[in-house]
Protein backbone atom coordinates (compact mmCIF):
# COMPACT_ATOMS: atom_id res chain seq x y z
CA UNK A 1 0.00 0.00 0.00
CA UNK A 2 1.67 3.21 -1.16
CA UNK A 3 0.21 5.16 1.76
CA UNK A 4 2.36 3.19 4.22
CA UNK A 5 5.75 3.82 2.60
CA UNK A 6 7.29 5.98 5.29
CA UNK A 7 10.07 7.19 3.03
CA UNK A 8 7.45 9.05 1.02
CA UNK A 9 6.19 10.97 4.05
CA UNK A 10 8.76 13.80 4.29
CA UNK A 11 8.30 15.15 0.73
CA UNK A 12 4.53 15.08 1.09
CA UNK A 13 4.60 16.94 4.41
CA UNK A 14 7.17 19.38 3.05
CA UNK A 15 5.09 20.25 0.00
CA UNK A 16 1.86 20.30 1.97
CA UNK A 17 3.38 22.88 4.32
CA UNK A 18 4.81 24.93 1.45
CA UNK A 19 1.71 24.92 -0.76
CA UNK A 20 -0.71 25.43 2.11
CA UNK A 21 1.35 28.32 3.48
CA UNK A 22 1.34 29.96 0.04
CA UNK A 23 -2.39 29.36 -0.28
CA UNK A 24 -3.04 30.78 3.17
CA UNK A 25 -0.99 33.91 2.47
CA UNK A 26 -2.68 34.43 -0.91
CA UNK A 27 -6.15 33.95 0.55
CA UNK A 28 -5.65 35.92 3.76
CA UNK A 29 -3.88 38.92 2.25
CA UNK A 30 -5.05 39.10 -1.37
CA UNK A 31 -8.16 37.13 -2.23
CA UNK A 32 -10.42 37.33 0.80
CA UNK A 33 -10.03 41.09 1.48
CA UNK A 34 -10.84 41.66 -2.17
CA UNK A 35 -13.97 39.51 -2.05
CA UNK A 36 -14.98 41.17 1.17
CA UNK A 37 -14.57 44.66 -0.28
CA UNK A 38 -16.61 43.72 -3.35
CA UNK A 39 -19.37 42.24 -1.22
CA UNK A 40 -19.28 45.22 1.12
CA UNK A 41 -19.44 47.62 -1.82
CA UNK A 42 -22.44 45.77 -3.21
CA UNK A 43 -24.18 45.70 0.17
CA UNK A 44 -23.59 49.43 0.56
CA UNK A 45 -24.78 50.16 -2.94
CA UNK A 46 -27.96 48.15 -2.43
CA UNK A 47 -28.60 49.81 0.93
CA UNK A 48 -28.03 53.23 -0.64
CA UNK A 49 -30.35 52.45 -3.51
CA UNK A 50 -33.02 51.20 -1.16
CA UNK A 51 -32.65 54.33 0.92
CA UNK A 52 -32.93 56.53 -2.17
CA UNK A 53 -36.00 54.61 -3.27
CA UNK A 54 -37.49 55.05 0.19
CA UNK A 55 -36.79 58.76 0.05
CA UNK A 56 -38.35 59.08 -3.40
CA UNK A 57 -41.36 57.17 -2.21
CA UNK A 58 -41.76 59.52 0.74
CA UNK A 59 -41.37 62.53 -1.57
CA UNK A 60 -43.96 61.23 -3.98
CA UNK A 61 -46.29 60.45 -1.10
CA UNK A 62 -45.94 64.04 0.14
CA UNK A 63 -46.67 65.34 -3.36
CA UNK A 64 -49.70 63.09 -3.61
CA UNK A 65 -50.97 64.32 -0.23
CA UNK A 66 -50.45 67.90 -1.36
CA UNK A 67 -52.30 67.23 -4.58
CA UNK A 68 -55.13 65.51 -2.73
CA UNK A 69 -55.44 68.45 -0.35
CA UNK A 70 -55.51 70.93 -3.25
CA UNK A 71 -58.07 68.76 -5.01
CA UNK A 72 -60.28 68.58 -1.90
CA UNK A 73 -60.01 72.33 -1.44
CA UNK A 74 -60.96 73.00 -5.04
CA UNK A 75 -63.83 70.56 -4.78
CA UNK A 76 -65.23 72.22 -1.65
CA UNK A 77 -64.86 75.65 -3.26
CA UNK A 78 -66.68 74.44 -6.34
CA UNK A 79 -69.43 73.05 -4.17
CA UNK A 80 -69.72 76.33 -2.27
CA UNK A 81 -69.88 78.30 -5.52
CA UNK A 82 -72.50 76.01 -6.99
CA UNK A 83 -74.62 76.10 -3.81
CA UNK A 84 -74.31 79.89 -3.77
CA UNK A 85 -75.32 80.17 -7.36
CA UNK A 86 -78.20 77.80 -6.87
CA UNK A 87 -79.69 79.79 -3.97
CA UNK A 88 -79.18 83.07 -5.81
CA UNK A 89 -80.81 81.77 -8.96
CA UNK A 90 -83.61 80.26 -6.89
CA UNK A 91 -84.36 83.51 -5.07
CA UNK A 92 -84.11 85.50 -8.27
CA UNK A 93 -86.43 83.22 -10.18
CA UNK A 94 -88.82 83.04 -7.24
CA UNK A 95 -89.04 86.82 -7.03
CA UNK A 96 -89.38 87.10 -10.79
CA UNK A 97 -92.07 84.49 -10.76
CA UNK A 98 -94.05 86.19 -8.00
CA UNK A 99 -93.72 89.53 -9.81
CA UNK A 100 -94.92 87.98 -13.04
CA UNK A 101 -97.71 86.16 -11.26
CA UNK A 102 -98.83 89.42 -9.61
CA UNK A 103 -98.77 91.23 -12.93
CA UNK A 104 -100.65 88.42 -14.63
CA UNK A 105 -103.22 88.36 -11.83
CA UNK A 106 -103.70 92.13 -12.31
CA UNK A 107 -104.09 91.64 -16.06
CA UNK A 108 -106.58 88.82 -15.49
CA UNK A 109 -108.60 90.98 -13.09
CA UNK A 110 -108.55 93.90 -15.55
CA UNK A 111 -109.64 91.65 -18.40
CA UNK A 112 -112.39 90.11 -16.30
CA UNK A 113 -113.64 93.64 -15.46
CA UNK A 114 -113.59 94.54 -19.12
CA UNK A 115 -115.39 91.34 -20.03
CA UNK A 116 -118.07 91.99 -17.34
CA UNK A 117 -118.48 95.59 -18.59
CA UNK A 118 -118.83 94.41 -22.18
CA UNK A 119 -121.31 91.74 -21.12
CA UNK A 120 -123.36 94.28 -19.15
CA UNK A 121 -123.24 96.66 -22.07
CA UNK A 122 -124.25 93.90 -24.48
CA UNK A 123 -127.05 92.82 -22.15
CA UNK A 124 -128.21 96.42 -21.92
CA UNK A 125 -128.21 96.76 -25.66
CA UNK A 126 -129.83 93.38 -26.33
CA UNK A 127 -133.32 94.64 -25.32
CA UNK A 128 -133.12 97.43 -27.88
CA UNK A 129 -131.86 95.00 -30.53
CA UNK A 130 -134.57 92.48 -29.64
CA UNK A 131 -137.27 95.18 -29.69
CA UNK A 132 -135.99 96.36 -33.05
CA UNK A 133 -135.83 92.85 -34.43
CA UNK A 134 -139.33 92.03 -33.04
CA UNK A 135 -140.70 95.25 -34.57
CA UNK A 136 -139.20 94.28 -37.92
CA UNK A 137 -140.56 90.69 -37.71
CA UNK A 138 -144.03 91.92 -36.70
CA UNK A 139 -143.96 94.50 -39.47
CA UNK A 140 -143.10 91.78 -42.04
CA UNK A 141 -145.72 89.42 -40.70
CA UNK A 142 -148.52 91.84 -40.11
CA UNK A 143 -147.62 94.52 -42.53
CA UNK A 144 -148.01 97.28 -39.96
CA UNK A 145 -145.70 98.82 -37.46
CA UNK A 146 -146.60 97.93 -33.89
CA UNK A 147 -146.66 100.46 -31.15
CA UNK A 148 -143.12 100.84 -29.87
CA UNK A 149 -144.22 100.60 -26.22
CA UNK A 150 -146.03 97.31 -26.79
CA UNK A 151 -143.02 95.62 -28.43
CA UNK A 152 -140.65 96.84 -25.68
CA UNK A 153 -143.05 95.54 -23.01
CA UNK A 154 -143.31 92.15 -24.75
CA UNK A 155 -139.50 91.84 -25.10
CA UNK A 156 -139.01 92.78 -21.46
CA UNK A 157 -141.65 90.20 -20.57
CA UNK A 158 -139.92 87.47 -22.62
CA UNK A 159 -136.44 88.35 -21.28
CA UNK A 160 -137.74 87.98 -17.74
CA UNK A 161 -138.76 84.32 -18.33
Amino acid sequence: MPQLIFADYPPQIFWLVVTFAILYILMAYVALPRVESVLEERRKRIADDLEAAERSKKDSEAVIAQYEAALAQARSRAQAISADTRTRVNTESASQRSATEAKLAGDVRAAEGRIAAARDEALAKIDGVATEAATGIVERLLGQVPAPGAVAAAVANAARK
Binding site: P11, F14, W15, Y24, A31, L39
Partner: protein, 246 residues
Protein backbone atom coordinates in the same frame (compact mmCIF):
# COMPACT_ATOMS: atom_id res chain seq x y z
CA UNK B 1 -3.86 2.03 -20.22
CA UNK B 2 -2.45 -1.29 -19.03
CA UNK B 3 -4.35 -0.88 -15.82
CA UNK B 4 -5.78 -4.34 -15.26
CA UNK B 5 -2.34 -5.80 -14.76
CA UNK B 6 -1.74 -3.45 -11.82
CA UNK B 7 -3.15 -3.36 -8.36
CA UNK B 8 -6.00 -0.83 -7.85
CA UNK B 9 -3.74 0.77 -5.27
CA UNK B 10 -1.06 1.47 -7.83
CA UNK B 11 -2.63 4.85 -8.59
CA UNK B 12 -1.60 6.10 -5.16
CA UNK B 13 2.12 5.54 -5.71
CA UNK B 14 4.30 8.53 -5.00
CA UNK B 15 6.59 9.23 -7.97
CA UNK B 16 9.52 11.58 -7.54
CA UNK B 17 9.80 13.95 -10.49
CA UNK B 18 13.05 15.42 -9.25
CA UNK B 19 14.98 15.04 -6.09
CA UNK B 20 15.37 17.85 -3.64
CA UNK B 21 17.06 17.92 -0.28
CA UNK B 22 16.23 20.47 2.38
CA UNK B 23 18.80 20.24 5.17
CA UNK B 24 18.84 16.47 5.17
CA UNK B 25 15.05 16.19 4.70
CA UNK B 26 13.80 14.57 1.52
CA UNK B 27 11.76 17.32 -0.14
CA UNK B 28 11.53 15.79 -3.60
CA UNK B 29 9.00 17.20 -6.01
CA UNK B 30 6.53 14.35 -6.49
CA UNK B 31 3.24 13.74 -8.27
CA UNK B 32 1.59 14.64 -4.96
CA UNK B 33 3.44 17.96 -4.98
CA UNK B 34 2.24 18.57 -8.54
CA UNK B 35 -1.38 18.13 -7.50
CA UNK B 36 -0.91 20.39 -4.46
CA UNK B 37 0.63 23.11 -6.62
CA UNK B 38 -2.15 22.73 -9.19
CA UNK B 39 -4.71 23.01 -6.38
CA UNK B 40 -3.16 26.24 -5.12
CA UNK B 41 -3.03 27.63 -8.66
CA UNK B 42 -6.66 26.72 -9.35
CA UNK B 43 -7.90 28.22 -6.07
CA UNK B 44 -5.88 31.38 -6.67
CA UNK B 45 -7.20 31.59 -10.21
CA UNK B 46 -10.76 31.38 -8.94
CA UNK B 47 -10.38 33.68 -5.97
CA UNK B 48 -7.96 36.28 -7.36
CA UNK B 49 -8.30 36.26 -11.13
CA UNK B 50 -12.03 35.44 -10.90
CA UNK B 51 -12.57 38.44 -8.63
CA UNK B 52 -10.32 40.79 -10.60
CA UNK B 53 -13.19 42.54 -12.38
CA UNK B 54 -14.84 43.37 -9.06
CA UNK B 55 -18.15 43.85 -10.83
CA UNK B 56 -21.24 44.96 -9.00
CA UNK B 57 -23.21 42.32 -10.87
CA UNK B 58 -20.94 39.27 -10.79
CA UNK B 59 -20.23 36.98 -13.73
CA UNK B 60 -20.05 33.21 -13.47
CA UNK B 61 -16.53 32.96 -12.05
CA UNK B 62 -17.00 35.85 -9.65
CA UNK B 63 -20.30 34.36 -8.50
CA UNK B 64 -18.54 31.08 -7.74
CA UNK B 65 -15.81 32.86 -5.79
CA UNK B 66 -18.39 34.86 -3.83
CA UNK B 67 -20.43 31.73 -3.23
CA UNK B 68 -17.38 29.97 -1.74
CA UNK B 69 -16.60 33.00 0.40
CA UNK B 70 -20.13 33.34 1.72
CA UNK B 71 -20.49 29.59 2.27
CA UNK B 72 -17.43 29.44 4.53
CA UNK B 73 -18.10 32.83 6.11
CA UNK B 74 -21.59 31.61 7.00
CA UNK B 75 -20.19 28.37 8.38
CA UNK B 76 -17.66 30.22 10.56
CA UNK B 77 -20.24 32.73 11.73
CA UNK B 78 -22.76 30.02 12.54
CA UNK B 79 -20.40 27.66 14.35
CA UNK B 80 -17.89 29.95 16.02
CA UNK B 81 -19.57 33.35 16.06
CA UNK B 82 -17.94 36.72 15.72
CA UNK B 83 -14.83 35.55 17.56
CA UNK B 84 -14.10 33.19 14.69
CA UNK B 85 -13.51 35.98 12.20
CA UNK B 86 -9.74 35.94 12.51
CA UNK B 87 -9.62 32.19 11.82
CA UNK B 88 -11.75 32.61 8.72
CA UNK B 89 -8.83 32.78 6.24
CA UNK B 90 -7.43 29.54 7.63
CA UNK B 91 -10.79 27.76 7.56
CA UNK B 92 -11.37 29.03 4.04
CA UNK B 93 -7.94 27.88 2.84
CA UNK B 94 -8.45 24.50 4.50
CA UNK B 95 -11.85 23.96 2.88
CA UNK B 96 -10.72 25.06 -0.57
CA UNK B 97 -7.51 23.02 -0.36
CA UNK B 98 -9.33 19.81 0.56
CA UNK B 99 -12.22 20.44 -1.85
CA UNK B 100 -9.94 21.15 -4.81
CA UNK B 101 -7.66 18.22 -3.93
CA UNK B 102 -10.64 15.88 -3.82
CA UNK B 103 -12.13 17.31 -7.01
CA UNK B 104 -8.79 17.23 -8.81
CA UNK B 105 -8.67 13.54 -7.94
CA UNK B 106 -11.85 13.08 -9.99
CA UNK B 107 -10.00 14.16 -13.13
CA UNK B 108 -8.55 11.09 -14.83
CA UNK B 109 -4.77 10.61 -14.45
CA UNK B 110 -4.69 13.22 -11.69
CA UNK B 111 -3.22 12.39 -8.33
CA UNK B 112 -5.31 12.92 -5.20
CA UNK B 113 -3.15 14.46 -2.48
CA UNK B 114 -5.82 13.86 0.15
CA UNK B 115 -5.79 10.11 -0.52
CA UNK B 116 -2.65 9.82 1.57
CA UNK B 117 -3.04 9.41 5.31
CA UNK B 118 0.08 11.42 6.01
CA UNK B 119 -1.37 14.47 4.26
CA UNK B 120 -4.76 14.33 5.98
CA UNK B 121 -3.12 13.47 9.28
CA UNK B 122 -0.72 16.40 9.00
CA UNK B 123 -3.68 18.72 8.42
CA UNK B 124 -5.72 17.18 11.23
CA UNK B 125 -2.76 17.32 13.60
CA UNK B 126 -2.17 20.96 12.73
CA UNK B 127 -5.82 21.72 13.44
CA UNK B 128 -5.68 19.72 16.68
CA UNK B 129 -2.50 21.38 17.97
CA UNK B 130 -3.67 24.79 16.84
CA UNK B 131 -7.07 24.40 18.51
CA UNK B 132 -5.45 23.18 21.74
CA UNK B 133 -2.99 26.07 21.76
CA UNK B 134 -5.79 28.58 21.10
CA UNK B 135 -7.79 27.06 23.95
CA UNK B 136 -4.82 27.22 26.30
CA UNK B 137 -3.97 30.76 25.28
CA UNK B 138 -7.55 31.94 25.79
CA UNK B 139 -8.40 30.15 29.00
CA UNK B 140 -5.06 29.14 30.54
CA UNK B 141 -5.26 26.18 32.89
CA UNK B 142 -9.01 26.65 33.00
CA UNK B 143 -8.97 25.00 29.58
CA UNK B 144 -8.60 21.60 31.27
CA UNK B 145 -12.05 22.00 32.80
CA UNK B 146 -13.18 21.03 29.31
CA UNK B 147 -12.50 17.41 30.26
CA UNK B 148 -15.00 17.55 33.12
CA UNK B 149 -18.36 18.64 31.81
CA UNK B 150 -20.30 20.85 34.24
CA UNK B 151 -23.01 19.09 36.26
CA UNK B 152 -21.22 15.75 36.39
CA UNK B 153 -21.12 14.34 39.93
CA UNK B 154 -17.63 14.20 41.42
CA UNK B 155 -17.60 10.42 41.90
CA UNK B 156 -18.03 10.02 38.12
CA UNK B 157 -14.98 12.17 37.40
CA UNK B 158 -12.44 9.30 37.43
CA UNK B 159 -14.51 7.68 34.70
CA UNK B 160 -15.53 10.76 32.69
CA UNK B 161 -12.19 12.54 32.58
CA UNK B 162 -10.23 9.71 30.92
CA UNK B 163 -13.06 9.20 28.44
CA UNK B 164 -13.13 12.89 27.61
CA UNK B 165 -9.34 13.02 27.25
CA UNK B 166 -9.39 9.96 25.04
CA UNK B 167 -12.14 11.37 22.83
CA UNK B 168 -10.26 14.66 22.63
CA UNK B 169 -7.03 12.93 21.64
CA UNK B 170 -8.79 10.79 19.05
CA UNK B 171 -10.04 13.87 17.21
CA UNK B 172 -7.07 14.21 14.83
CA UNK B 173 -7.17 10.46 14.10
CA UNK B 174 -10.87 10.37 13.28
CA UNK B 175 -10.64 13.63 11.36
CA UNK B 176 -7.77 12.46 9.17
CA UNK B 177 -8.93 8.86 8.78
CA UNK B 178 -12.40 9.91 7.63
CA UNK B 179 -11.10 11.99 4.74
CA UNK B 180 -8.29 9.60 3.83
CA UNK B 181 -10.48 6.48 3.92
CA UNK B 182 -13.19 8.07 1.81
CA UNK B 183 -10.73 9.14 -0.84
CA UNK B 184 -8.89 5.83 -0.79
CA UNK B 185 -12.06 3.70 -0.94
CA UNK B 186 -13.70 5.80 -3.64
CA UNK B 187 -10.71 5.80 -5.96
CA UNK B 188 -9.95 2.14 -5.37
CA UNK B 189 -13.54 1.15 -6.10
CA UNK B 190 -13.58 3.24 -9.27
CA UNK B 191 -10.39 1.58 -10.39
CA UNK B 192 -11.70 -1.92 -9.63
CA UNK B 193 -14.91 -1.38 -11.58
CA UNK B 194 -13.10 0.35 -14.40
CA UNK B 195 -10.91 -2.76 -14.58
CA UNK B 196 -14.06 -4.89 -14.89
CA UNK B 197 -15.17 -2.81 -17.86
CA UNK B 198 -12.00 -3.74 -19.72
CA UNK B 199 -11.98 -7.33 -18.49
CA UNK B 200 -15.59 -8.05 -19.47
CA UNK B 201 -15.11 -6.48 -22.89
CA UNK B 202 -17.63 -5.07 -25.32
CA UNK B 203 -20.40 -7.54 -24.52
CA UNK B 204 -20.76 -7.46 -20.75
CA UNK B 205 -18.62 -4.44 -19.97
CA UNK B 206 -21.54 -2.05 -20.13
CA UNK B 207 -22.89 -2.98 -16.69
CA UNK B 208 -19.74 -2.02 -14.76
CA UNK B 209 -19.39 1.02 -17.02
CA UNK B 210 -22.82 2.26 -15.96
CA UNK B 211 -21.82 1.56 -12.38
CA UNK B 212 -18.64 3.58 -12.80
CA UNK B 213 -20.67 6.48 -14.20
CA UNK B 214 -23.00 6.37 -11.18
CA UNK B 215 -20.02 6.00 -8.88
CA UNK B 216 -18.42 9.08 -10.42
CA UNK B 217 -21.47 11.11 -9.44
CA UNK B 218 -21.35 9.69 -5.93
CA UNK B 219 -17.63 10.41 -5.67
CA UNK B 220 -18.19 14.05 -6.68
CA UNK B 221 -20.69 14.31 -3.85
CA UNK B 222 -18.29 12.63 -1.43
CA UNK B 223 -15.45 14.89 -2.55
CA UNK B 224 -17.52 17.91 -1.54
CA UNK B 225 -19.02 16.29 1.53
CA UNK B 226 -15.69 15.23 3.01
CA UNK B 227 -14.22 18.69 2.51
CA UNK B 228 -17.33 20.08 4.21
CA UNK B 229 -17.13 17.60 7.09
CA UNK B 230 -13.44 18.24 7.69
CA UNK B 231 -14.03 21.98 7.70
CA UNK B 232 -17.13 21.99 9.86
CA UNK B 233 -15.48 19.72 12.43
CA UNK B 234 -12.53 22.11 12.51
CA UNK B 235 -15.02 24.92 13.12
CA UNK B 236 -16.66 22.97 15.94
CA UNK B 237 -13.31 22.16 17.57
CA UNK B 238 -12.35 25.83 17.33
CA UNK B 239 -15.67 26.83 18.79
CA UNK B 240 -15.12 24.41 21.68
CA UNK B 241 -11.71 25.87 22.38
CA UNK B 242 -12.93 29.47 22.15
CA UNK B 243 -16.18 29.14 24.09
CA UNK B 244 -15.13 26.20 26.30
CA UNK B 245 -18.56 24.61 26.21
CA UNK B 246 -19.83 21.15 25.58
Amino acid sequence: MAAESHSPLEQFTIKRHFHLDMGGVDASFTNSSVSMVVVVILISALMIWGMSRRSLVPGRLQSTAELAYEFIAGMVQENIGSKGKKYFPFIFSLFMFILFSNMLGMVPYQFTATSHIIVTFAMALFVFVGVTLIGLARHGLHFFSYFLPPGVPMWLAPLIVPIEILSYLSRPISLSLRLFANMLAGHTMMKVFAGFVVALGFVAGWAPLLFVVALTGLELLIAFLQAYVFTILTCLYLSDAIHLEH
